[in-house]
Amino acid sequence: MLTRRSMLRLAGGAGASLLSSTRLAKAFQEVFQAAELPAGMQAVATACGVCDSNCGVQAILQDGVLRFLGGLPGDADGGGGGLCAKGGSGIGLVYDPDRLKYPMKRTNPEKGIGVDPGWERITWTEALDTIAARFSNAISQYGAESLLVISRPAPDLWMRLLNALGVVNRVDHLDECFLTNRILQRYCTGPMTWAHDFANSKFILLFGWDLLAKAKLVFARGIVQAKANGAKVVCFNPQYSATARFADEWYPIRPGSDLAVALAMIHVLLEENLYNQQFVANYTNFPEYESAIRAHFAPYTPEWAELQSEVPAAAIRRLAREFGTMGPAIVPVHKKTLAANYTNATQLVHAIMILNILAGTVDRPGGRYEARKIDIPAVDAVYPRPAYPPKTGRRVDGKDRLPLVLEDGGGLFSTLADGILNKYPGMIQAAFFNQYTMLGFPSALRITQALKTIPFIAVYDFLPNDVAAMADIVLPGTTYLEVNDLVAREFSAKHPIVLARRAVVPPMFEAKSIGYVAIELGKRLVPDFFKTPDGSWINPGVLLDEKTRRAGIANSFAEFPASGIWERPEPFVPRTTFGTPSGKCQIYVPQFAAKGYDPLPVWKEKRERPNAEYPYYLLTYIPAFHRRNTTENNPILTEMLPVNVANINSALAKSLGIGEGDLVRLRSRAGSITLAAHLVETLRPDAVLVAHGYGQRSRLMRVAWGRGERDSDLIPDQTVEEMVAAGNFAGAAGIMEAVIAIERVQQSGSEE
């Protein structure tokens, strides 16, 4: 018999009692509450630090030891209460037995792949004194240009050190990532207009954008929500990836020709006046340049684009019409996916900006919008400093030849080897690596050669990777689970949201934060920049408390809400002026013209095309469970794909006499690698797909060492002259520019 009472649910909580309407139930609630955690366990809310999704994490500890990382309840804009494999395996990074534990110095002067450095343990004091002395000598003897710092421009304390020293050669990987995106948006739609309102989009156009396959949850979940809300997703990608699986239409586009399709779609939108007239008339510079714009896109017909891209002209035309009429349309572009892949990325990203502008969704529902952030003061606002010395010196990566890149400050990994070896041999006297490995560069062999010419290398990281193996001094770094920080949401932030990244365990062994390193080197080299007004040294914990307080979040970091998420809900007020030089969304960019660049995107081929010697395209991807310098030594993640393989279309393989598991040599003008072949249906028959992140050479990374091959051995680096000649003025690294030959080396299972 079903009664009110028998309809109860065993929900694991003290709520929903059948007696809930009576005093009995109330009394029950006074005695019992929902159990929060297994007995003996403690939960701490924090934020993941493996990738820039910065999903909330609920760290579970037992007796002070990390036991489990779960999603953070209430994190609607990030992981949604879940965590991908990368985040869920973070414990393996903190407790990695191969982890760098103590500062060390090299005693074997010979440096090379597979050479034993002869490590000797030293104190932090000795390590910092040595680094400071080498830096100081290099600067006084050779000038600040002789210091090479391979580092993201963060945190602010670290940048204060570099700027105080007058470092001109700070180089990061952004040419392989979002440099092109960031430069173009600054001139087209405004800085930080890279948050995506997928949930309200009705038409999502993806040119190689692959962030579901990379499990970047903040973006991936948005696409899933969009599909649930009835959005149409169209995907152009030579690979049918996990992202393509979510598309309503997928086109195996010819690699490097997305630009043609984008130009043709703009052509159709203009020709048929299917753009958002109201937005374009009021908020863009289209009216000023209309005739030039229309004339410019006139030749880029869908028929022309079909010849370049192999996407049928009728489809291009129809998709453009749908883009213009189905409702809020968005073309996301971010990170490595596509933007950095081809040397025509500058033009492609410009075309994508124009598509978003014509859709009228810039900072509007369903489109790319400017992340709303609160002002979290940087160190300069808390502790004033003397003026920085002027930056004088030569740019080893050639940034000075690309003014927009120089203005932005990001990049350039793809030209660094050429700069060190050919352009400015001997200029770099000392280098500091902050959390980058060799695998992050194209042509890793070339960068290894380049590093050998540098007399002194210091490496700060948490794993003993291939770059650490080339170091003179190694500093053990803290992981994201061991340091406090404030993390402001950037990619899904309609109102300000800040997460607390908490030190859930104390730093292991003698690991220290990069902030600590900055202050300690600062004390030795540029003390006036690291003092507080009362004359004491800057303290990172006090600084963080001040930031928390001044941002209006809490009186101190310790008082950040226990939930780990702080929000300031405020209505989203769409911008009517934009952060571009003119205050309008810019389709035609006069600032580009002033520098002698194309003010509107023009068709350019990708740099390398299949030819007789190298008949196939090389494509690379990053598995969903790997990221940069944090995951390759993690056994939980490694066993998901223990070695990388050469993914080849089954028809192509058959035509070449290659069977499943056969060893094949892939060869490009940059080098060659040998992998087992894996036959697939999810690739164009003129492309080979290889996973990035394998081929770690450091024997000290016992899980990662020897697994697979480096895709980057096949990827040519470039010179800045090549970039200029290619019209690549927004600094794309051209990661997918390689073309290769394939030959079977050995049949699988044979005795050869």
């Binding site: 649910r9 065993l10 694991g12 909580g13 929902a34 159990a35 297994p38 007995a39 999903c55 036991r67 489990f68 779960g70 999603g71 992981g79 949604g80 209460g81 879940g82 965590l83 991908c84 494999a85 990368k86 985040g87 869920g88 395996s89 414990i91 393996g92 579901l212 396959a213 499990a215 949850l217 991936a220 979940r221 899933v224 599909k227 649930a228 009835g230 049918y240 996990a242 699986r245 979510f246 195996p252 969903a624 469970f625 056994p635 939980i636 993640l637 490694t638 066993e639 998901m640 223990p642 279309n649 089954s650 028809a651 697939v680 249906e681 999810t682 690739l683 164009r684 028959p685 899980v703």
Partner: protein, 179 residues
Amino acid sequence: MSYGWLFDPKLCIECRGCEAACKQWNGVQTLINVRWRRVYERETAGYPSPALQVLSLSCNHCEKAWCAMACPVKAIKRRPDGIVYIDHDVCVGCRFCAKFCPYPPRPQFNAVKHKMEKCHMCYDRIDQGLQPACAANCPTGALKWGKWEDISSQGEGMVEGFTDPKYTRPHIRFITQGW
């Protein structure tokens, strides 16, 4: 009262958060090819119109568990709530259970301990009012866990390639309806 899985492939982004959560919570040994939960990606159509079937699977805690019936030493037991688990004090690693189980990933042989291992639905978490680690961490809701009486009427009992549930009555349902 028993439990089951509800899987919706169209929500799965193949992030493998479920695999990692299981390994992390249960301390499953790594690099010996033992994974209690696995994400399977299978090509179901050829180029130029490829298609992929994606499934996240672990033990289905069948009502008529052939693994338990096959075990010669009665190491595989069932709790009152239907969770099927392997008692490692009894298991001798003969692998019969894996031979009879119709559903990948099947019980797997841990060559180091010489025992069979499989998902036990994180019953230590369930007993504390929590969900199994895999379902708890799924970021899109593709993998859900709950009471079988709520789940058994949803979706379908099988998908292409999945053995007909009529034999062992596995506690899993699939949402096959598309967007």
